[in-house]
């Protein structure tokens, strides 16, 4: 992936092996109470149409006619940033049409019409209220919220219900996001650099980037929280503060701890003790945290937490480190086959802003011989069923 830092941060992967062409524009804002709900609402409103395609079905038909182009406009939470992400992808051959459709959506939005925003506000209200329907993700979001209370890292990326009603002048907010964000543009597929830059200039002449600084996450002191829902299965989430150390050591730790069937958690909790169907961990590099997720019978709550704790503190063996390194480097290599995974990787590394590429990340992983980490549990969260 070539990176050109000009009026925007442009990432280009000229790659003939992809059958598709991908264009993605990311507008970064700090995640806080003032931005999060508006950003999420914007993602819904902008997905619904624009000046040229005034209804969702008109827009969808235009995308269908463009060889079935797929459009995704999302408000993505990454660390303590909220990123308005526009992605359009289609089989190669209609690159300019993809640029044109995305420019209609981004440059000529239909935001001044209030009825759009009103109906999308109701939609967002439903999304927020219905989060409980997906208990696994609900528990995950609550755990992260408890771990980083009152900071951007802890605010739910879908927004805050109480702020929704009072949102006015969404167009004004959008203009400000458009003009003042850190802006990353990703172009992947069978296209050369000059042509990509030419199309970007033609369709997005006013797009520019601003510098956004990064802050470190601070995890809460230990707390254990049990909440109730009407579910049959209890959802356990454990938030681990990864403390000091390099993020490459932490990636390796997470891999051996909770990624896949050979991980410590899968083997101990599922295979040896039969306590769950799923258990895994995820490393949030920007938040310096590892989050464990499992679906369990509530009566096994303490037993499961004890096993997770004991496996957390066991020093990794050389064999575990070796296998985890091999697995992580394979994942990095495979990333080159998946345009959206590549974009996501560079979107995150762009926030760290330390020049790490897929290739140098693999080198850094391979250079790790031992792990000197002191992970510490910050939050134990259980979403239990109804109390008897």
């Amino acid at each position: 992936m070539e990176v050109i830092r000009d009026r925007v941060n442009l990432y280009i992967d000229e790659n003939k092996k992809f059958k598709g062409f991908y264009l993605c524009i990311c507008l970064h804002q700090p995640l806080n109470e003032n931005t999060v709900t508006k950003n999420r609402l914007l993602s819904l409103v902008l997905s619904s149409g624009c000046e040229m395609y005034k209804t969702q079905t008109e827009l969808n038909t235009a995308l269908a006619e463009c060889d079935g182009a797929q459009l995704s406009i999302q408000s993505v939470k990454k660390g303590d940033r909220i990123i308005l992400q526009f992605l359009i992808a289609a089989p190669k051959g209609s690159e300019e049409e993809q640029f044109r459709i995305l420019s209609e959506i981004m440059n000529h939005p239909y935001l001044k019409a209030d009825d759009f925003a009103i109906s999308r506000k109701k939609h967002l209200k439903n999304i927020i209220e219905n989060k409980i329907a997906d208990k696994k993700n609900y528990a995950y979001d609550r755990c992260v919220e408890l771990m980083f209370e009152k900071t951007g890292f802890g605010i739910d990326g879908d927004g805050i219900l109480r702020d929704l009603c009072g949102i006015r002048d969404l167009y004004g907010y959008y203009r400000q996001v458009y003009e003042n964000s850190q802006t990353d543009v990703f172009i992947l597929g069978d296209i050369n650099r000059e042509r990509a830059q030419e199309l970007l200039k033609k369709y997005f002449p006013a797009l520019k980037t601003n510098k956004l600084s990064r802050s470190d996450a601070k995890a809460a002191e230990f707390k254990s929280v049990v909440e109730r829902s009407q579910g049959k299965q209890a959802k356990l989430c454990i938030g681990i503060d990864m403390g000091k150390g390099s993020r490459f050591e932490k990636i390796i730790f997470n891999e051996l701890f909770g990624v896949g069937p050979s991980s410590r958690l899968f083997r101990s909790v599922r295979e040896q003790n039969g306590l769950c169907y799923y258990i895994s961990s995820k490393y949030l590099s920007l938040a310096n945290a590892v989050i464990v997720q499992a679906g369990i019978d509530e009566e096994n709550f303490e037993k499961t937490v004890d096993i997770v704790k004991s496996r957390l503190n066991d020093p990794p063996t050389d064999d575990e480190i070796k296998n985890a390194k091999a697995s992580v480097t394979d994942t990095l290599k495979i990333m080159g086959d998946y345009p959206t995974a590549l974009m996501d990787f560079y979107l995150t590394q762009g926030i760290f802003d330390d020049g790490v590429t897929v290739e140098t990340a693999a080198e850094k992983i391979n250079a790790v011989d031992k792990l000197s980490l002191e992970p510490k549990i910050s939050v134990v969260y259980l979403l239990g069923g109804e109390e008897n």
Binding site: L63, A326, D337
Partner: protein
Amino acid sequence: MIVKKTINGISCFIVPKKGFIQKQAMAVVRFGSDTAGFKTQSAAFKIPAGTAHFIEHLMFSSPQGNLMDSFSRLGAEANAFTAFDKTAYYFTCAEHFYENLERLIKMVFTRQFTCTDIDAERKIIAEEINMYRDDARWQCYFSLLKCLYPGLAVSNEIAGSIKDINTIDENILNACYDAFYRPENIAVIAAGDIDCDKICETVEKNSVSKVGELPEIESVAENTPENAYTEKYMDISTPFLYAGFKENNTSVSAENTVKMRIMLECMAGECSPLFGRLLKEESVDTPFGFEYLKGRNYGAGLFFGESKAPEKTAECILKEIENSVKNGFVNAEAVVKKQRGELIMQTESVNGICMPIADCFSKNIDFLDILKLYDTIDIDGLSLQKPQFMAASVVKGSRSKQN
């Protein structure tokens, strides 16, 4: 795509993808949750719900421990799934492809179910069933299938119920394995920068010889559907609905599959006038999903999604189906372009290509025909026969019931 058959009868579908790092191989067995029973020359067997899925879990057990772990040690990520008409085992990797393929084939052709493993796996499957009991969409789906196909195995949840899995024992597991895990009932699908001949050689060398005839599948007499509507209350806020119809056409063909997918999307997809109308009325916020569910003894067109007015929305969908029978379809040209493009994008990755080929194998249709049909389909010839039966299933929030 290269298609070959090994001497012992295994179908091999190989998709070379030059320049890709990831490789995948999938072994697909034509045996899933929709089979209720079978007959061999010596005996007849009734299959409890959840049996195919139970076998899927047990295949990874071995005296040396969980076999998923042995794939991990060779840098591969292995997994499996059970569907209505198939069980599939697969791995993805960057390195050691042929060694992993050898493991996969040996695993699928080795039966070693022990009572200890069966009891241990029962606990894990029970937790999986509990997880699905909280899934509103899953519950809504099977409630609809119970309306459309009362008494047929396809209406049972794939993992069965806790009661079902408690009746599954070593005898039925062994009998099903021996009946269906046979070379001629299995396909191996592989994609990546790989060598076709070497794959076929590895598959043949590590599988068993052809043994006897495949069993006769028990044909179950279907009960006449009576319930056209069902509802449940769960812990959700926005109601969820499924609405659909049983088709009259019983043939399974690539052409019928493509036509049905196009017609379903024309009726209620994201470009359809119906979706536009419901969006305007604010009964829905997001487009409906749709599915053409097809198997040996069933065929249905299904729509699903969230709606604030689920009964009314379901009624609109069912009316639209009736209208389409009478008046045909609008927007078909755009829908053909859309689905063609989506198929190209889906099959772009190693991960995405094996699944649609597996679907075609389990239905005995040619995947290449599907691709060709999107270029040659005559949209003026699209017509939907009057459905046999239509029904809707709704899941509403239990909090709203209490209030």
